[in-house]
């Protein structure tokens, strides 16, 4: 996997997110309350809302446009909504946030 160095973990607020300009549009990178990081395409499967601007709780983000709840680890919308935001790999190593673009895996 081709890990890219993104930023210091502290550059992302706890329960916050930042946006990375990706090759195929923006990628949102999220930080949870226990310092896990997740990355999704910054587009809600519903109407394309920027998920990076949503409110983060647990391992979910609420889309800022119509409040769809998206699972950060899978990109799946929480039932009864159906849809999936494209997921990338992200991790924290030595206080740095690393990202690996995921081009193959499609949503279920």
């Amino acid at each position: 996997m081709n890990w890219l160095d993104v930023c210091d973990l502290e550059e992302i607020n706890v329960l916050g997110s930042r946006v990375i300009a990706g090759p195929k549009g923006d990628i949102a990178i999220f930080r949870t309350s226990n310092d896990e990081v997740f990355a999704l395409d910054d587009r809600c499967p519903h109407k394309g809302g920027p998920l990076s601007q949503g409110l983060i709780y647990g391992k979910r983000v609420a889309c800022p446009l119509h409040n769809w709840q998206i699972e950060l680890d899978s990109g799946e919308a929480v039932a009864p909504d159906v849809g999936c935001a494209h997921r990338h790999h992200a991790k924290v190593e030595n206080g740095r946030v690393l990202l690996a673009l995921n081009t193959a895996e499609k949503c279920a």
């Binding site: 329960l15 990375i20 090759p23 609420a62």
Partner: protein
């Protein structure tokens, strides 16, 4: 930790609802075992009548299928009747010999049909109407036999009779009372109902006393004989003469019973390890037979079982609805009218409409509606919330529509709407979809409907309609509650009021502290509770509680309004709606430089720059060099003014200057919901002060103040509050009222709804009658605002706060080939 053992006897709606609530609160506290006498998983008993009538199938009314029990690790023992409770050994024993030990026992055995103690009661073809087996038997008998007699003209009896008639039987209803449904209806309505059922081919004998059921010689019933000697043929006799709480088992275990198992306000019996809930329980002398109160009991019982112990059941006001398709009947509260009550009646026997409202001490206490039940839900809400109706008394009979409702929140006649009618205009959900979702998924609350269908989940203006559809679909089972009694969200069982109180009483100043103290069930809440908690904290403890930007929704975090394409709109503050050439030039320059696709004038007399990219926001603010207009916040929005006495030939007061002053007074004020003001300089009221949270109209002798207006989702005309002489008084009264609202309203409660909840009297008492309190309120607002500063300026000046607006550049990304 060793799990506690919870055993439940009975597998019906009340009991299983308790388990559902319990699993939400404390999923891992108990190992749960359930004994069910019937061979079925939990199903919706109140929908047996539509099944009998052929409108639904058994499969459709199952609420929790077997998978549900498995997924929640509940041991389900079906087809087993518990015969003994050994309280010493804490053991439950069933008829097949199986046993289960318990630490807590929940008795939810429901009720049994009352079988008249008359000769022939044990003959074949004589049944009660209670469960799937009874319903199945009725359906089978209808195929092979002709004559059915239903004993009892109550809700259940009429529903049974209607179903049997639809299945082709010749049905006679025998009733002991002078009219049908004498517990739900008064005589006039009962007679109207009888006539309309007779038109459908049902026969009635009343008042009539049954003496005996006759044997056909082979052990099957063949006729019913009455005390007056009359005999009518009967191949099937359905006893629907009432229910008896099924408390035998508890009684034999030595638990105190008196027409039901006696329980306290936490649903515990005489033995505190043993709880009882539902139709078998008697709370303050009442054993409820309707499902809505049982669900309230379930919540309380689950709360206590989860060892939280703050919920208390204090009895319910009930409403009923006859589930016979095509007949509209609704009653709620004390509709019969007792001493000290007054009644208002509307009677149209030809048109088939009868309505009766019962009022006591200016409060609606009961309603009985026949033929037109569209307003049932609204009346029920009035009864439950104890609203003073003296001011709307003359319109009360004509329903919510007559109380000046130009929006569609209220009582449009959902019952008569076609299925294709759009209910939720935001999400495009029509009535049929909602009804289907309610029936197929067994929904009982508006929140469930919102989740499942999205109806009412956006702007909320159709929630009233959704509530009505819910009530007309599931009747008395609908879980309709005012916000003051509802839990804040799925993360906690506490209401907004309880949370506000805890934050104040316990001096809670941070989100994590509050969630820990109040036993939040989720690690960091959700998008519903976090913004509310954040507001409660900063409004209760200004200067002490720290604002948490991550608990604000995006608009209040970016200090701009997000648009559908992810860009933002920027509305700079123009105090009192007044601007000048140099501001306009700067706005024009910004619009040019950032290629703003649209510049628009807003309803609140401001200029809106739409389509700005998030990363440009700080620069745009800087170049505008104007204060934040807060057009994005649950906060002070705008003070709209007319030109007033400075220019207008009719103006009596300097409304423009007062508007500017008020806007400065309130600048940076966060509030439960948005707050809009207007000041007009004369009674022509060009600033439209009548539909604002606070509206001021200048008159020759001073200023009239109006509060609680709203021009949005549902137009609400502001109510007259007070008349004062000077502009300074206006500012003081305004600050005091808005501080009261800030301290007492629930999050997302507009002033109008706050006012409806607490009553105008309460506000007048706090602000008008008590001068010291008024000054203290105004001072507290000033104190709170002393900690706030213009959020735009703050973000321009503090680089750390600006980073949220920047995109991260990843160097390798540009090199990475993907």
């Amino acid at each position: 930790m060793q799990k506690l053992k919870l055993v439940m006897i009975g597998n019906g709606m009340a009991g299983v609802r308790t388990l559902e609530e319990l699993l939400k609160l404390a999923p891992d506290l108990y190992d749960i075992t359930v004994f069910g006498a019937e061979p079925h998983p939990n199903y919706n008993r109140i929908l047996l009548s539509p099944v009998l009538a052929g409108e639904q199938t058994f499969e459709e009314i199952v609420l929790n299928d077997l998978n549900w029990y498995a997924e929640n690790h509940i041991k389900l023992l079906l087809g087993r009747k518990v015969t003994k409770i050994d309280r010493k050994k804490r053991l439950v024993i069933a008829d097949d010999g199986s046993e289960a030990e318990y630490d807590r026992l929940l008795i939810a055995t429901g009720s049994n049909p009352f079988i008249l103690p008359i000769p022939g009661k044990d003959l074949e073809g004589v049944i009660g109407y209670r469960d799937i087996a009874d319903t199945q038997m009725m359906m089978d008998t209808a195929k092979t036999h002709k004559h059915a007699v239903v004993i009892g003209g109550g809700l259940l009896g009429l529903e049974a009779a209607n179903g049997l008639k639809l299945r082709g039987m010749d049905v006679t209803v025998v009733h002991i009372g002078d009219w049908l449904l004498e517990r739900q209806l008064d005589r006039t309505a009962g007679e109207l109902l009888q006539k309309s059922l007779e038109d459908r081919g049902l026969k009635f004998l009343l008042p009539k006393h049954t003496a005996e059921l006759l044997d056909n010689g082979e052990g099957r019933v063949c006729a019913v004989k009455f005390k007056d000697g009359e005999v009518i043929p009967a191949d099937l006799v359905v006893m629907a003469a009432g229910i008896r709480p099924n408390s035998d088992l508890a009684e034999s275990a030595g638990i105190a019973c008196n027409r039901g198992i006696l329980v306290n306000d936490t649903m515990q019996t005489y033995d505190p390890r043993v709880y009882a809930i539902g139709e078998c329980a008697s709370h303050r002398g009442i054993a409820y037979g309707l499902v809505a109160p049982l669900f309230e009991q379930a919540k309380v019982c689950a709360n206590h079982l989860a060892q939280l112990g703050f919920a208390r059941y204090q009895g319910s006001v009930t409403s009923t609805k006859l589930k016979v398709t095509g007949i509209d009947l609704f009653s709620a509260g004390e509709f019969m009218g007792a001493e000290g009550t007054e009644t208002i009646t509307l009677s149209d026997p030809i048109g088939g409409v009868y309505k009766k409202l019962v009022i006591k001490d200016d409060v609606l206490v009961g309603a009985c509606l026949y033929g037109d039940t569209a307003d049932g839900g609204w009346y029920f809400r009035q009864i439950r919330e104890n609203h003073n109706v003296s001011e709307i008394r003359d319109h009360l009979m004509f329903g919510e529509n007559a109380i000046g409702d130009v929006g569609h929140q209220g009582a449009d006649k959902t019952a008569n709407m076609p299925d294709s009618m759009e209910i939720c205009g935001c999400n495009g959900v029509c009535k049929g979809t909602i009804v289907k979702a309610i029936q197929e998924n067994g929904l009982f609350s508006v929140d469930d409907v919102k989740k499942q269908t999205k109806a009412g989940s956006s702007c909320g203006s159709c929630v009233g309609l959704v509530e009505q559809i819910l009530i007309s679909t599931v009747g008395g089972a609908a879980d309709v509650k005012p916000k003051s009694e509802k839990a804040i969200c799925g993360c906690s069982d506490l209401t907004h009021g309880q949370i506000r109180k805890a934050i104040r009483d316990e001096h809670l100043t941070s989100l994590s502290q509050t969630m820990a103290f109040l036993n939040w069930s989720t690690p960091n809440g959700c998008a519903t509770c976090r913004p509310a908690l954040n507001y409660y904290l900063i409004s209760t403890w200004p200067g002490e509680a720290k604002d948490d930007p991550q608990s604000r929704l995006i608009n209040e975090r970016a200090h701009a309004n997000i648009q559908k394409d992810g860009t933002y709109s920027v509305v700079p503050r123009m105090w009192g709606g007044v601007t000048n050439p140099s501001e306009l030039r700067r706005i024009a320059d910004v619009a040019d430089k950032y290629k703003v696709p649209m510049v628009k004038v807003t309803g609140g007399q401001r200029i809106d720059l739409l389509g700005i990219k998030k990363e440009d926001l700080p620069a745009v603010w800087k170049e505008l060099d104007m204060a934040s207009g807060h057009a994005y916040g649950k906060s002070i929005r705008t003070v709209k003014t007319c030109v007033g006495s400075e220019f207008c030939r009719f103006g009596t007061q300097n409304s423009t200057q007062l508007g500017i002053d008020l806007e400065h007074d309130l600048f940076n004020m966060w509030s439960p919901h948005k707050v809009k003001l207007a000041v007009s300089g004369c009674p022509r009221n060009c600033a439209e002060a009548g539909i604002k949270d606070v509206g001021i109209i200048g008159v020759d002798s001073g200023f009239e103040m109006y509060i609680g207006g709203n021009g949005g989702i549902k137009t609400e005309v502001a109510e007259f509050f007070v008349k004062v002489k000077t502009a300074d008084e206006v500012r003081e009264y305004n600050a005091a009222f808005l501080q009261l609202y800030r301290e007492e309203a629930f999050y997302l409660e507009r002033t109008v709804h706050y006012m409806q909840r607490v009553g105008m009297e309460h506000i007048k008492k706090a602000v008008l009658e008590d001068e010291a309190n008024r000054k203290a309120l105004a001072a507290r607002l000033q104190f709170a605002l002393s900690f706030e500063q213009d959020p735009w300026k703050e973000r321009i000046e503090t680089p750390q706060l600006k980073k949220e607006f920047d995109t991260i550049k990843v160097v390798q990304l540009e090199e990475a080939t993907v």
